[in-house]
């Protein structure tokens, strides 16, 4: 009896204070935190967020979680273990997030780059990567000598297609002879495949490699081949000090801090946020010194103009690939068009996989 009582007191003492004060935030990642790209960007933000809150927030991660049943299981286990807010940091988790969110109405779900929002406890968040892609396109158009840009693309989803279009339009604007060669890997993280793709693109004459995949493989291939490349999601300079011109660096931390703060305050509500340069959610990695000073200034100006809202990367006239008009002179692309983009703009010679 005495033993029982002690146990009861002990467990009561252990249970109450520890659980009441800390907010638990769970993260699930499609890749390893050591990808030096996309997942690394999210984990960087997670650590920054954890540091910001100190003991008030406890974070946990599960990496390399496949879409589908695996993701559903991991998120369910997180919810069962008392997690208050779950960040699902990849596009493909959509159906899984929605399935789990329906069963745990008291858990807040934050789905990166998603589009399905069937329950009131799901927030969607995304960055306007096409803004950064415009800058990359401008730089690529100016820097290429072969007038050929190689593009390693992951999945043909709106965000990736909009990125290709944005880069192409801005390369074309400064270099009318520009050609884009595009290879689809159907994967976010596959270093071997990305290296193969980079080699193929270089063989096809590309001297600037752009990627919408998460590993550093292409940067290394570009470095060895003596061509140029852009990093993805994180500053990848260390993997190709000569090749790496710049990168769109994801900075999710301010957003993560604000969302976790809302959970702590009890004011969390579902949102759909699409943030860009203006919100500090993306920024450009330092320009490589091989970029002429004039070009560096142009790139700075382009970033500033987009951030200030003076310039939108998709401003008409722009036609679709088949020649039909999309945006009239001076017209700016509505967000809805960009969020569901499933066509190339005029001038791109490749075909969208279908």
């Amino acid at each position: 009896m005495k033993k029982l009582l002690t146990a009861a007191v002990l467990s009561a003492a252990l249970a109450t204070p520890a659980l009441a004060d800390t907010t638990k935030a769970g993260f699930i990642y499609i890749g390893p935190v050591g990808d030096f790209g996309w997942t690394a960007g999210h984990d960087r933000a997670r650590r920054e967020m954890a540091e910001h809150f100190g003991d008030a927030v406890e974070t946990t991660i599960v990496e390399n979680v496949d879409y589908g049943a695996d993701a559903e299981r991991v998120m369910t286990q997180m919810a069962l273990s008392g997690t208050d807010v779950i960040f699902a940091a990849s596009f493909g988790y959509g159906p899984d997030v929605n399935a789990v969110a329906g069963r745990f109405p008291n858990v807040a779900f934050q789905h990166a780059t998603g589009y399905i929002q069937d329950h009131p406890n799901i927030s969607l968040y995304d960055a306007r990567f096409y803004e950064g892609r415009a800058v990359l396109g401008h730089i690529a158009g100016k820097m290429t000598e072969t007038n050929t840009v190689g593009y390693i693309a992951s999945f043909p989803i709106p965000a990736v297609i909009a990125g290709i279009n944005s880069a192409y339009l801005h390369a074309k604007a400064v270099n009318p002879d520009i050609q884009f060669r595009i290879i689809w890997t159907y994967s976010w993280f596959d270093p071997a495949l990305e290296a193969d793709a980079a080699e193929t693109l270089i063989e096809q004459g590309a001297d600037v490699i752009m990627q919408h995949t998460d590993s550093t493989a292409a940067i290394r291939v570009a470095e060895d081949a003596g061509v140029m490349a852009f990093g993805q999601a994180s500053d990848m300079t260390q993997f190709g000090p000569n090749a790496h011109l710049t990168a769109i660096v994801d900075r999710w931390a301010p957003y993560y801090i604000s969302r976790v703060q809302a959970v702590i305050d009890g004011t969390w509500e579902a949102q759909n946020s699409w943030l860009g340069f203006a919100d500090g959610i993306i920024e450009m990695a330092p320009w490589n010194d091989r970029m002429p000073a004039e070009l560096q200034a142009e790139a700075d100006a382009l970033v500033a103009a987009i951030a200030a809202g003076e310039y939108h990367p998709f401003t008409g006239p722009i036609n679709r690939q088949d020649g039909t008009p999309w945006l009239a002179e001076g017209e700016v692309a509505p967000d809805g068009d960009l969020a569901t983009m499933d066509f190339y703009v005029e001038g791109i010679t490749a075909d969208l996989p279908n």
Partner: protein, 361 residues
Amino acid sequence: MIRLEKRKQPSRFWRIANPFLAVALTMLAGGVMFAALGKDPLVAIRLIFFDPIFSETFASYSRPQLLIKSAPLILIAVGLAIGFKAGIWNIGAEGQYIIGALFGAGVALAFFPQPGWYIFPLMVIAGAFGGFLWAMIPAILKTRFNTNEILVSLLLVYVAERILAAMALGLMRNPDQPGFPGSRDLRRYEAAHNAELFANTGIHWGVVAALIAVIFAYVMMTRHMLGFHVQLAGQAPRAARFGGVSPTRLVVICLGISGALAGLAGMFEVSGPGGQVRIEFASGYGFTAIIVAFLGRLNPLGIVFAGLLLGLTYIGGELSQMMLQIPGAAIQVFQGMLLFFLLALDFQTNYRIRLTKGARA
């Protein structure tokens, strides 16, 4: 002096004991690794092996999940093991799994949104047929042109993955969600949904099929002439040929069975836990099943245990990542250790260590 001596007969004792010893050694070596990572090894191993089944917080959910994760592995591995016994190496179960899923989903999407009791059975037949068909490519190439089935079946996985991507982006794409790859969610189409048969047990038709396949394979391998032929062909191919076993027939049967079972697994997955045809639908079940087959000693009952054990390390691995922040890569190393120790220990089955006195002459 330590000497290795080949046994006249493989040791029955070690054949059975090795898997258990391998698990124990994996726990030990894994524990050392977890300790080196600064994690409590006992807690880590408890999280991986026990909490998914016994923990108060997780077990009610993860126990059924164990069946969901293991059923496709077992279903595929049982088929593969029959071929492996005969020395017919189907390495491309992943491809057959994908094609089976596409055939099954194709039937469902063709009938959408019509109700009908016959739709699901048709999907089952289509799924098995799809996997069978995909396995017939290496089978026919082998029997007609003597190509290597290992290479052909493996390379066909990549072809299947491309077909899957094309389907998710084209023909099978959900017309209500333009711009995004992926088919309709079959879980929301009642006639095609491979739902849980009993609530919160994790038992869906795929689990039932796995069970039936295990019994079927067991009876076939131990009681039926075909099983005898398979064993004979694997152990003494020349004798088998003299004994009237047709190698061509055997190749077709073994690849056909394993292909059909892999196709079934894919179909049950896409209509249930997986939910829809997506580019990333295949998550390596077809390859993991090869490990399961060997871990289970190519024996149907062994495969059941091996499938459950591997499923457990997956689910427990996620738990230990989540609760203890063990890196995902360390979990993969841990799973790798399991196979490594098993294969390393296998030498005991065929060899014995002899301590001999003095130097050899």
